[in-house]
């Protein structure tokens, strides 16, 4: 079989719901697309703990401190699992970390922003994780089977984080007026990035990640699913979503909303967000300061 015929058979296989294992033959385009997708996901898990890390020392109770520390440990664990999936596709882990620290590869927009209050910690753990789980659940069916299996494990752990976040928000919302406004202000800050998080709608005819079933749902479908579940849960607490245009069109069943700021999304994920550079600088510093641990573990002579 020629490579072209082989590739055509491969794409027919994945396009019709077929699965691919790590050591199966695959066309370079597919390998590169899965790698890029998983690498960005892994980067996001690793960078995503930094906003929460800032709050370990400031958590209001011991139980919250334990839960937050545990969540952070989970997310770093997810990064490890995902880098494992990615390195089996041919890119060494050291190279992925070097590219991330050099700003050559991306991580999710929501991790480029600072956290201002404990309300932000609740909104992140509840709604950012909820928006993430909506897309991660759709990835359990990925044509790249090692990724799909990893997502099953990750989704299970993320569901704990959402409960932790919702519990933080509910505690504040049943507290003082000051605590309630702390949550509202956090929601006001995070709504824009949340609406951008799944990305602009893509054309299903040209979106290769969708055609090859690396992901099973498009960006807009994921955003609609997120709004469907979470807007009613936000409203029932007496919170106001900071978008006057947001409503569910009863005729179509679809959510209408103010067009998210896609320029902001592009700018933020290319390293121009308010906390992009400080977060990367922290990671670089941390990597340099822990070099001796890796050397000791790997038996490198001093």
């Amino acid at each position: 079989m020629t490579d072209t015929a082989r590739a055509e058979a491969f794409y027919t296989h994945v396009g019709s719901g077929g699965k691919v294992e790590a050591d199966d033959w695959m066309p370079d385009d597919y390998r590169a697309a899965v790698l890029k997708f998983v690498e960005m996901h892994a980067n996001s898990e690793l960078m995503g703990v930094l906003p929460e890390r800032d709050w370990i020392l400031r958590a209001p109770t011991l139980r919250r401190k334990l839960a937050l520390t545990s969540k952070i440990q989970d997310e770093v664990g997810h990064a490890q699992l995902l880098y494992r999936v990615a390195e089996d596709l041919g890119k060494p882990r050291e190279q992925m970390l070097a590219d991330l620290l050099a700003g050559k590869t991306k991580f999710h927009n929501v991790f480029h922003y600072p956290t201002r209050s404990w309300g932000d910690v609740g909104i992140i753990a509840w709604l950012v994780d909820a928006a993430a789980i909506v897309s991660q659940q759709a990835l359990r069916d990925s044509s790249y089977a090692p990724y799909g299996r990893t997502m099953k494990k990750i989704c299970w752990e993320e569901s704990v984080h959402i409960m932790h976040g919702r519990d933080v928000v509910l505690t504040l919302m049943t507290g003082t007026e000051g605590q309630r406004s702390m949550v509202q202000e956090a929601l006001d800050r995070w709504w824009g990035p949340l609406m951008q998080m799944h990305g602009p709608p893509t054309d299903p005819v040209t979106d290769r990640d969708l055609i090859w079933q690396i992901k099973s749902k498009g960006n807009e479908q994921l955003r609609q699913e997120f709004l469907d579940i979470y807007v009613p849960r936000i409203w029932e607490l007496g919170l106001t979503v900071p978008d006057a245009a947001l409503h569910r069109d009863e005729a179509t069943g679809r959510w209408q909303y103010t067009e998210p700021d896609w320029d902001e999304l592009r700018s933020v994920v290319t390293g121009h967000g308010p906390a992009s550079q400080s977060r990367l600088e922290f990671r670089r510093l941390h990597r340099a300061e822990t070099q001796w641990v890796r050397d000791a573990v790997l038996g490198v002579a001093a």
Partner: protein
């Protein structure tokens, strides 16, 4: 020391099958066990882990051997459709409706 890839199998409860969980990368057995514990056992979701060097696993995925295009229905319970034969046998024996469904009837 170079890292190796280790495959991790986990048992959720005593008596359950060992199920493949995923893999870890580690330079030696001791660290492989530590990583496996961190990624596949820190929520009390496992009572036992098996950690195996990936290159020790033998794989067979040859469809000619595993999915041969011959009728293998005689090897499966569903390959035996006895409903009508059982009914006929009961009628001949004059015991219709007394024996219940019997195993193997769908």
């Amino acid at each position: 020391m170079a890292d190796r890839v280790w495959e991790v199998f986990q048992q959720a409860a005593e008596g359950d099958p060992m199920v493949h969980g995923g893999s870890v990368r580690a330079p030696d057995e001791e660290l492989a066990l530590h990583y496996a514990r961190e990624f596949y056992g820190r929520r009390q979701e496992s009572v036992r882990l098996w950690v195996v060097p990936r290159d020790a696993i033998l794989e067979l995925d040859d469809p000619d051997l595993l999915q041969p295009p011959f009728d293998r229905s005689h090897k499966r319970p569903g390959g035996y459709v006895i409903k009508h034969k059982l009914e006929a046998a009961r009628q001949r024996a004059g015991t219709s409706g007394t024996g219940g469904g019997g195993e193997g009837t769908e």
